[in-house]
């Protein structure tokens, strides 16, 4: 039996989201992942947004980047138009961006769910994968964070292309 965090990690690493997969939702909780929870009684003249219940289910990292969120429950596209791919998908930079994005999404989730241990474990795992991806990228194309320059033969931090100039960095 996989725990919620194992399932989250397996999908971050490239698996697929199962429709209606709600591994982290308690059996007695009849809310699906598209719904959050609210207080049954709350003071008047206040506004309440439902709390997201769990960091699962989650998209795989590439799909998360395409969709703009790791969390299917928050994925609410305009006129149901969503991205099926992105220009760097399948390149070392595209893979790195996807992992950076998973880290960002789990970071914001944990900012409001700091006691969610499964999400914190998933974050640590995502950071480890992101570090690996960054090392792969830096070897091929040069520094992405300033300290990466320590592994370079020359001072190449200032070499182009810069991020707003799409070019050979993609490996294409």
């Amino acid at each position: 039996m996989m725990s919620g965090v194992d399932i989250l990690l397996s999908i971050i690493k490239g698996g697929k989201l199962l429709e209606n997969n709600t591994p982290n939702v308690k059996p007695d909780d009849n809310c699906g992942y598209k719904y959050g929870y609210l207080n049954s009684c709350a003071p008047l003249a206040t506004s309440w947004v439902p709390m997201q219940q769990a960091s699962t289910p989650a998209y795989g990292s590439g799909e998360a980047l395409n969709r703009g969120t790791l969390f299917p429950g928050l994925d609410l596209p305009f006129k149901n138009m969503y991205n099926k791919t992105n220009p760097y998908a399948g390149t070392p930079l595209g893979e790195l961006m996807a992992l950076q994005f998973v880290v960002q999404e789990l970071k914001l989730y944990l900012d409001t769910h700091k006691d969610d241990e499964e999400a914190f474990k998933a974050l640590k795992d995502a950071i480890a994968l992101e570090k690996e991806g960054r090392l792969r990228y830096v070897k091929l194309y040069g520094p992405i964070q300033f300290d990466d320059v320590a592994d370079s033969e020359t001072y190449n931090w200032i070499d182009g292309p810069w991020p707003w100039e799409y070019a050979e960095r993609t490996g294409k």
């Binding site: 003071p43 206040t46 309440w48 703009g68 409001t112 992405i144 991020p163």
Partner: protein, 198 residues
């Protein structure tokens, strides 16, 4: 302190020159509900935020918005870097061109320069988080409108990503407000300002 990561948050790769699109997308660079204002709003609200975890949330979302500021500039740069004088005149981009050539300047689509008058820092946790939720919705509507106006798939790919970020940020600010409300006196949540009176 801030340090730079030499990659965009999401790829921007636009093939076609199109100053007509740049004319209105620039509003998300320096317009009333744009990414510059978003970043400065959140980063400036941190100092009067009473709870440490939401100082973190404002820092993390404010920093992400600076990355979006860079993505919008990348869109405008790629839409205008190779434009001809003929394309400039045909698109009505001449009024921008005369002041900024093909440089990227933070302004509204209507030409007003970016102004701090479009952001709020009230120094009250309920008020500031409510402002932030409204700001995310205003940016989401602006991206909806850009998707209605733009027919360039390369541009729209990026805009769809940025629009979805507004929804995620709305949820996180809403959760912060939810948790703030729970900490306050349930008989009168407005009895005092926890940003100032504690």
């Amino acid at each position: 302190m801030f340090s730079y990561v030499k990659s965009l948050q999401y790829p921007v790769k636009i093939s076609a020159t199109n100053p007509a699109l740049a004319k209105f997308i620039i509003s998300q660079y320096g317009g009333p509900d744009g990414e510059l204002g978003a970043s400065l709003r959140y980063l400036s609200q941190r100092y009067s935020m009473p709870y440490p975890e939401f100082k973190g949330l404002l820092t993390d979302i404010g920093t992400e918005e600076l990355g979006h500021f860079e993505m919008i500039a990348s869109i405008i740069h790629q839409l205008t870097r190779k434009m001809s004088m003929e394309e400039i005149k045909k698109a009505g981009f001449d009024t921008y061109f005369v002041d900024h050539t093909a440089g990227i300047y933070p302004q509204f689509a209507s030409g007003t320069p970016w102004t701090a008058a479009t952001i709020g820092v009230k120094g009250d946790v309920i008020t500031d988080l409510t402002e932030d939720m409204a700001a995310e919705q205003k940016a989401r509507t602006t991206y909806d409108n850009i998707l209605r106006l733009s027919d360039d798939p390369d541009v729209n790919n990026v805009i769809k990503f940025l629009r979805e970020r507004e929804i995620v940020h709305f949820q996180r600010f809403g959760e912060a407000l939810h948790k703030t409300m729970e900490r306050l006196d349930q008989k009168n949540v407005y009895a005092m300002n926890p940003s100032f009176d504690n």
